[in-house]
Amino acid sequence: MKKVIELRNVSYDYKSSADERTTGVKNISLTVNKGEFVVLLGHNGSGKSTLAKLLNAFLIPDQGDVIINGINTKEEKRVFEIRSKVGMVFQNPDNQMVASIIEDDIAFGAENLGVERQELIRRVDWALQVVNMHAHKKRTPFKLSGGQKQRIAIAAILAMLPEILILDESTAMLDPKGREEVLDVVRKLNSEQGMTVILITHYMEEAVDADKVFIMNEGEIVASGSPREVFDNEKAVYEAKLELPVACKISHMLKKDGFDIPSCLTVDELVEGICRL
């Protein structure tokens, strides 16, 4: 399998003044393979955004190396190459749009890369179709719902043809319906286009069907593995001040009370487990 992201002992501190430093991330090592769906969990201030910014060369590590597709982010000349390969979607969709007409906004990133005109038009159509917003091509984004706006923001990144898509709490401001819309698009991109996805969130529910889950606390990765492995590591989850999904919590409680039930990630699994008792 092809490694697309590799971090080796990466640390980063924010230097607000000469003698004042805030830890961003501490000694992080991880790898992500092509086509993986990775979920990064952590409470506020745990260093998730810092890690994301290290991945697309917004920040350069104080120690260690970040290697994207074989390129070290320290290579200044290749910053734009990295950024076009590592697309980043942020939390507030309203603050990510630069143009008043949706198709212009989608084209912006690809225009910046100097993509030739016919190809631009093709990419804009394609990106809008992927996120299911083609009907809105010529309209303004203002009357759209949060979920729709965030899908536009994703399409705007897709038009640059990234290989890795990072969503930094891109579902945090959305209602449950909008969240589901966005997650559907992201899952589809992952399964159908083989896009490597890094989803940053503090909803543990969003992690249940990930390939890999990382939990961060105080700038460090404190748990990693498949969702089941990570969710079973209750101690790490609680220390990181996260909430397990309800189904998971109930199954753990039942187990503690002596019932023979496997740990469950979803309500369906829980129902099945209880029926088998």
């Binding site: 917004f58 076009s84 697309g87 942020f90 225009e111 910046n112 993509v115 203002f142 990144i157």
Partner: protein
């Protein structure tokens, strides 16, 4: 549902004028402004009036929206007219008392002045009624592109304009929210004297600035994430094309200018 504020004055349509290249519209409106300043006699003002009437018919925009922008400057027009009437010195007096002297030439002069202002506004309004602000921005960017030679950041200026347009509705929404939030806390915006009202604006402006800066911060990240400034050879999806309409319109405007110039030699008031 109110009209989308993003489009400003734009009146959607697909008339001959709507479909012209924005660059042609900008250039021809400059030509038009010059032409209006070349008018001397009332005959030429009549010619401008007819020209505008034809333009409005061709653009198929409602007279109402044209008059709206006239209304906006009506006060200015009347004020300048009044000042001109009262203080114009030349000509034979019709009425005279104290420092005030109303003359026949004064009346004619101020009428022409008022007409000139009105015609200028109506003409330029026709451009903004038939062109979206985004299209105008694109047109300006293209027209300014020769300035790149002297290292003027044409493209950055265009992006700034585009982002400003983009954020006007967001900030308006924000202001509404802040006003409601402050009202909920018991703030009164529509009572008290001038100073009290000005003071009441402070609790709106401060949160507005704070949020605008926060937005700017995120927007800067989003611009970088989308490789802003990655290459000097930036491409553009939307192409502006000079078409037959622009040619026809240019000829028409030049003819109009010719008529006005000829009218300068025709006797009349």
């Amino acid at each position: 549902m109110g009209r989308d504020i993003t489009f400003g004055q734009y009146y959607p349509g697909d008339s001959f004028i709507h479909r012209m290249d924005p660059r042609a519209k900008i250039l021809l409106s400059i030509l038009y402004i010059v032409t209006v300043f070349l008018c001397v006699s009332f005959y030429s003002y009549l010619a401008v009036f007819l020209f505008l009437a034809i333009l409005i018919l061709v653009a198929r925009v409602p007279l109402r929206s044209v008059l709206k922008s006239v209304k906006a400057i009506l006060f200015l027009v009347m004020l300048t007219a009044a000042i001109n009437i009262l203080f114009y010195r030349e000509g034979s007096p019709l009425l005279q008392f104290w420092v005030i002297r109303i003359t026949d030439e004064g009346l004619i002069f101020s009428a022409k002045m008022a007409l000139r202002l009105l015609f200028l506004v109506i003409g330029t309004t026709l451009v903004t009624l038939t062109t979206t602000p985004m299209n105008l921005t694109d047109g300006m960017e293209s027209l300014m592109s020769p300035l790149k030679v002297v290292k003027f950041p044409v493209h950055d200026v265009a992006i700034i304009m585009s982002i400003a347009l983009r954020f006007i509705p967001s900030l308006m929404e924000e202001i509404d929210k802040i006003i409601m939030a402050q009202k909920a806390r018991g703030a009164a915006f529509d009572s008290g004297g001038l100073i009290a009202r000005a003071k009441a604006l402070l609790p709106i402006l401060i949160p507005l600035f704070v949020s605008a800066f926060r937005r700017a911060d995120e927007l800067a990240l989003a611009l970088d994430a989308r490789c802003y400034n990655a290459t000097p050879n930036r491409t553009k999806m939307k192409e502006l094309k000079f078409g037959y309409r622009d040619l026809v319109a240019s000829v028409a405007c030049l003819l109009f200018m010719g008529v006005i110039i000829l009218l300068r030699f025709y006797p009349g008031v």
